[in-house]
């Protein structure tokens, strides 16, 4: 089945220690998104790629970076995690950008910062 996969499902890192979360898709979608979701809150878009074009949200901290080496994979790098970065990180894909396209989400990676 075509899907969006996120690894690992749970990640524990230390304060200030770089961490990378990964996402892969078998849907062959052009767009890949990274969202941050804190407890009982709405998912908040961090950035997205349309093919190789990177689009950063204005309020995404510089601490968050992303890489998309090919269509299938996308990575979220947190250079120096703080306690406030503990959250669920969701990867999603869609065929194109725009509100007329549904997004397909992975199961998420829950990040704990100690």
């Amino acid at each position: 089945d075509a899907m969006v996969i996120q690894n690992p499902r749970y990640q524990v890192t230390q304060f200030g220690k770089p961490v990378t979360l990964s996402c892969s898709q078998t849907l062959n979608h052009n767009v890949m998104y990274w969202y941050q979701q804190k407890s009982s809150q709405a998912p908040k878009l961090l950035f997205h790629y349309y093919d190789k074009d990177f689009n950063n949200e204005a309020d995404t901290p510089d601490n968050f970076q992303s890489r998309r080496p090919n269509t299938s994979f996308c990575f979220l790098d947190i250079r120096s995690p703080g306690l406030g970065d503990a959250a669920m990180y969701l990867c999603a894909t869609s065929r194109a950008t725009g509100t007329g396209y549904e997004q397909y989400f992975g199961p998420g990676t829950r990040l704990t910062v100690t």
């Binding site: 709405a42 878009l45 997205h48 969701l90 999603a92 509100t99 549904e102 992975g106 199961p107």
Partner: protein
Amino acid sequence: SQQGEEDPQALSIQEGENATMNCSYKTSINNLQWYRQNSGRGLVHLILIRSNEREKHSGRLRVTLDTSKKSSSLLITASRAADTASYFCATGATNKLIFGTGTLLAVQP
């Protein structure tokens, strides 16, 4: 800035009852989508309604859209315990979705 707000924030009903959730948004939209999120999981797309549509059905789901009031509602009929989840509306006028605050639905067996 947050585009959509859901009401109520939380809803508890008995199995078999209907559940209605409302979403209000601020600016003009082209489309509105509803998603479900089970606890600790990713979001699942439920339904998309376009700005020129007033009502849409999918199985036990009924979505309405009133662009004059900038609001939408999601009705789940004959609810089941498996419907227990958070439900989010998502809107936007440009190239991205902005998710609302969500309604936490608990269906008691």
